[in-house]
């Protein structure tokens, strides 16, 4: 029974994607202007050429490198800062106004400073991604800590968990993990979107975002669309992978807590 439902779901997914592709192909052929809407077959041909030349592989590796630098920094800064703000009220009051001023500034606005501070390097690209990703992680970590049930904290204290360090790591952190996981997931989405902005200023000759700008300047919209779709697909894979890791390891204890 479950198996047949699974098959039905798969058929539905495949039909949905296939329908979208057919509508896209027909619409593009009706418009018949490659620069307005390249057809699926033109994008497919561009994709195969980029793969055969090895170009797509180099671009993907380059972008993932920037993403790893940006996300790594965002996690390293966002989670500890969120914990500190969520647990220590004085620290929260001191830091919160600064965070609230910086948070609304779009990552794109930081590009000039990224170049000035880090040069035309992968760290400059990583910085722009960091700016996009750090705040969702920080805010969710903060919220997770603020919402730690008081009963858990009191129980911990009764059972001899007195020190702040013990309360944070043994009580509040496990309770806040679902919120932190959500923050990292949202941060990854924003960070991946920032890859295109981060590569706007040509830190290297490769990268998915850089190639979007490059081919955009040459008006090859079939290649631009190919890179856009590759960006989307990689984001999807990263998200699925993260969800799997979180559900299978990070939050395995939650299995059965909720339906």
């Amino acid at each position: 029974m479950v198996q047949s439902m699974d098959i039905r779901r798969r058929i539905l997914e495949i039909t949905s994607v296939a329908s979208a592709i057919i509508i896209w192909e027909i619409t593009a052929r009706i418009i018949n202007k490659k620069y307005i809407l390249p057809s699926f077959s033109e994008v497919g041909a561009a994709f195969l050429e980029l793969v055969s030349e090895g170009e797509l592989y180099r671009d993907t590796i380059t972008s993932l490198n920037y993403f790893a630098i940006g996300m790594g920094a965002a996690i390293a800064v966002g989670i500890p800062l969120g914990i500190m703000m969520g647990w220590f009220k004085t620290f929260d009051k001191a830091v919160d106004p600064i965070i609230e001023i910086i948070r609304p500034i779009p990552p794109l606005a930081w590009i000039t400073f990224a170049i000035m501070w880090f040069g035309l390097t992968k760290y400059a690209a990583g910085f722009v991604i960091f700016v996009g990703a750090v705040f969702p992680i920080l805010v969710n970590t903060y919220t997770g800590f603020r919402n730690t049930p008081r009963v858990l904290v009191e129980s911990g204290k009764v059972l001899g968990c007195i020190k702040n360090r013990d309360l944070i790591f043994r009580i509040a952190l496990p309770a806040a993990l679902p919120a932190i996981a959500t923050g990292v997931r949202v941060g990854m989405g924003v960070g991946w979107m920032c890859v295109v902005a981060a590569e706007l200023f040509a830190v290297s000759k490769y990268g998915l975002g850089w190639k979007i700008w490059f081919w955009n300047d040459l008006h090859h919209m079939d290649i631009v669309l190919t890179y856009m779709l590759v960006l989307g697909l990689i984001a999807l894979v990263i998200d699925r992978l993260f969800r799997y890791i979180v559900q299978e390891w990070w939050l395995k204890w939650q299995t059965g807590v909720v339906v």
């Binding site: 202007k33 490659k34 620069y35 000039t112 170049i115 000035m116 040069g119 035309l120 200023f201 040509a202 000759k205 700008w213 490059f214 955009n216 300047d217 040459l218 008006h219 090859h220 919209m221």
Partner: protein, 339 residues
């Protein structure tokens, strides 16, 4: 009963007005309004395109085009030719003052437009940081050079010149595509070693004192074509008289700025906001020349088409028929010679 004679009188009057207006209308079709009332221009913040700014500042676009029904003009300023061509592809501009290379990839990808007049030749410089030595192109190996994005004239000329000097533009140097202002910032902050940009950028950089001009684009590629006037095929097909007048006004403006370089510098300064002393010095120092004859730019434009095809920027090797419509200019010049 009175209504009937009134109707007859009104009919006679209307017929009379139509006949009279027919008699007093311009004799030549060329002077009749074409149905188009607004023209949209695209240009860039460069001394290369002062002809557009001069015609605009002197009110010539509206004055000269008014007999053909044009009541307003609009212009859009673009950092480089690439976004300007995207705007033309999107149907946002009718006439573009642009380098002769950005139209290549756009036309290759389906833009229906033609070069109908020249605007200027040469006029870009390679500017190198003061602390770096320069004796020959070989000194550039290993350096980071910022220039306009792929497919622009500067990108094409620079790459060809490097290749001509046995330097692989993909492996031996790092060429970074960006607009003029970001390129200057990158040079000032030491993030790139050199820039190759159109005027007045080289003069702006030299005036700051942290870099100097080492090669002018005329040395890289003597008499190379630079900016042109590009109009949409729709304008050519549906409003040829307007295209003809655009070229006439452009010729007038080009002659004006050649004869009056100080006024040209002032017009540029007022339009773009560059100080007068910088724009004036730029016009004195550059190796560029304002022209209006597209025939002068034809040969190198076709060479650019070959370079871009070899670089893989265009899918097909574009020909003169794909890129140029010389008929308007040649007709105007023949008429001017007769006069």
């Amino acid at each position: 009963m009175i209504i009937q004679p009134l109707k007859i009188l009104a009919a006679i009057l209307i017929t009379g007005i139509i006949l009279v207006s027919g008699c007093t209308a311009p004799q030549e079709d060329e002077d009749e309004p074409t149905g188009l009332t607004e023209l949209r221009f695209g240009y860039q913040p460069s001394t290369h395109q002062i002809a557009y700014m001069a015609a605009d500042a002197n009110g010539w676009w509206l004055e000269d085009l008014a007999p053909y029904g044009i009541t307003s003009t609009e212009d859009k300023l673009f950092a480089t030719g690439a976004p300007e061509m995207l705007a033309m592809l999107a149907g946002e501009i009718d006439v573009a003052y642009v380098g002769s290379t950005p139209p290549l990839s756009a036309i290759d990808q389906g833009l229906e437009a033609k070069i109908v007049a020249g605007a200027q030749t040469q006029g870009s410089d390679l500017v190198l940081a003061n602390d770096l030595p320069y004796e020959s192109p070989q000194d550039l190996i290993g350096l980071k050079i910022a220039t306009f994005p792929p497919g622009t004239l500067q990108d094409t000329v620079l790459r060809k010149w490097l290749l001509d000097n046995d330097i692989d533009p993909k492996e031996d140097v790092t060429i970074l595509g960006m607009g003029g202002a970001p390129a200057i910032t990158a040079l000032a902050s030491g993030n790139v070693d050199a820039v190759f940009l159109p005027h007045p950028n080289p003069t702006v950089i030299e005036s700051e004192g942290y870099a100097r001009v080492v090669v002018q684009s005329g040395e890289m590629w003597p008499d190379h074509a630079c900016c042109v006037v590009l109009v949409t095929q729709e304008l050519i097909d549906e409003h040829p008289v307007i295209v003809e007048q655009i070229i006439r006004t452009h010729i007038k403006a080009t002659r004006y700025i050649i004869d009056n370089p100080d006024e040209a510098a002032q017009i540029f300064s007022d339009d773009i906001g560059v100080p007068y002393n910088i724009s004036s010095k730029s016009i004195q120092d550059w190796d560029g020349e304002w022209v209006s004859d597209p025939n002068i730019e034809l040969a190198t434009a076709l060479e650019y088409a070959k370079v871009q095809y070899d670089l893989g920027y265009t899918d097909k090797l574009l020909t003169q028929d794909d890129l140029f419509d010389l008929s308007f200019y040649n007709k105007i010049i023949a008429e001017m010679d007769e006069e």
